[in-house]
Amino acid sequence: MWQLIRIELFKIFKKPRTYIAFGAIAAIVFLIQFAFYSDGDEYMAFLLKSVNETFTLEGKLLNGYFICYIILQTLLLHVPLLIALVSGDMIAGEANMGTLRLLASKPVSRTGLILSKFIAATVYTLALLTFMAILSLFGSMLIFGVSDLIVFKTEMFVVLESDDVFWRYIAAYGFAALSMITVSSLAFFLSVFAENSIGPIIGAMSIVLICTILISMDIPFFTEMKPFLFVNHMLNWKGFFDRPVDYAEVLKSALVLIFHIILFVSLTIFVFKRKDILS
């Protein structure tokens, strides 16, 4: 099994498209950091519009922790596409290239093949998240310094003292990794049905996008649906920025995501074991 995983990792990191994601993340992070460096006050003023009528806020609001939060909030909407780019290609891409029939005719089990591919895709996801963490957290801390973090929610904002923030980011990145692995498993699952990676990539992204739109709309019908959408639970990395942290809810979301991962991977194995490989 380790052999298979090594082979899959070798293939992933030899493919040029893998590095698109790293480049894209670096570009987005730098752009956001640059934008805030040059003109972050206006954005801050907008967020604090109603607050500024009653309160005066002083101190380094625009600090590394805040910038990192904004980056995470933005990136975790777009990183799923970059994840799907690789995961959606894992099986469909091989079918398209004609190499799937080579793999499936080797003395390796189909289950082992799928698991090794999924684990390799997961390693890629973790590598991407780590890269993102280094740039967005450490990079922002370096450029903007650190201070208390203000987290803006819909009906309130939370102030977190600066020495109480760093561990939250580590936990949030861990949770974000789980979220991204869920997206990866979805794209991976769709990949088993296609012979071209475009389909699974777009399919996975469409599902994530539609669900994201639904959860951002304040319509009662959609509000009822939210707890059942895994995309909603993906947002609960924000739960670590609450006072106090609702560990029960965060754990619940984590379990929902883990359930989806197991479900998608199991279904992938089930379908692949029965699939006639005609490509």
């Binding site: 009528e53 309160f55 929610k153």
Partner: protein, 232 residues
């Protein structure tokens, strides 16, 4: 009839004396507070506002006569209600141009106080009306209600301890009205808990900031740079 005339006469005669009492009382209080030229204080600040979730934080407070006041969180972000400069009672009396009117007596936290309304004579004064509740016996300001032109109305409740001789409180509770706070869901993208929807919390329109002072360093000088504004 004569008795009535006598009583009315006495009241009319006594009133100017009463008015003098209010003014004198306020002047005495002012004089007591004026003994403080500057101070550095340490304390803890707690914010109780429905839409702010912030921990109690350690703060440093700086004051310099006549009205330089700064409340700072060491290495942090401080959230002060607007008009927060008035949290400092020493700055209340910057302006001499006011008329003092007695508003009777009132018990504040079980202590009998004299209520004095200060009406600013200046037309463009930011403060429209100020009511002081003074513990006459100890010459301490226990409560004040302030109505301002731009920053709304607020109240301050003071309690005193070892610095009462200086007129510096151990605890100040600053109460004020708040506006609604709301950001679009599409911007905040919050996690929805689901389940039985809790009744929408009616945003409490009132908030308070409580400052507990642990120590004052009085009249030892304060650097001007302490009053410089931090970059947002």
């Amino acid at each position: 009839m004569m008795r009535s005339i006598l009583i009315i006469g006495l009241m009319l005669f006594l009133q100017p004396v009463s008015a003098q009492d209010e003014t004198a009382l306020v002047e005495n209080l002012k004089a007591k507070l004026a003994k403080v030229n500057d101070y550095k204080a340490t304390g803890k600040m707690k914010i109780d506002v429905s839409f702010i979730n912030a921990p109690a934080s350690n703060i440093n407070v700086f004051y310099k006569r006549p009205n330089k006041f700064r409340l700072k969180k060491a290495n942090g972000i401080s959230i002060l209600p607007k008009g927060g400069v008035s949290i400092n009672i020493n700055s209340l009396f910057v302006n001499d141009n006011y008329k003092a009117v007695s508003a009777g007596e009132k018990a504040v936290n079980g202590v009998s106080t004299k209520a004095v309304m200060l009406i600013p004579m200046e037309e463009n004064s930011e403060v429209v009306l100020m009511t002081l509740y003074i513990d006459e016996k100890n010459l301490l300001l226990l409560k004040t209600s302030i109505t301002t032109r731009e920053s709304g109305s607020y109240e301050m409740d003071m309690s005193y301890g070892k610095f009462s001789n200086w007129g510096l409180p151990d605890k100040v509770v600053f109460s004020f009205n708040t506006k609604d706070y709301k950001l679009p869901k599409g911007l905040t993208l919050e996690y929805e808990k689901g389940g039985k929807k809790k009744e929408a919390k009616i945003q409490n329109k009132k908030g308070s900031v409580e400052i507990s002072y642990s120590n004052y360093i009085i009249n030892k000088g304060v650097d001007e740079k302490e009053f410089a504004s931090d970059k947002l």
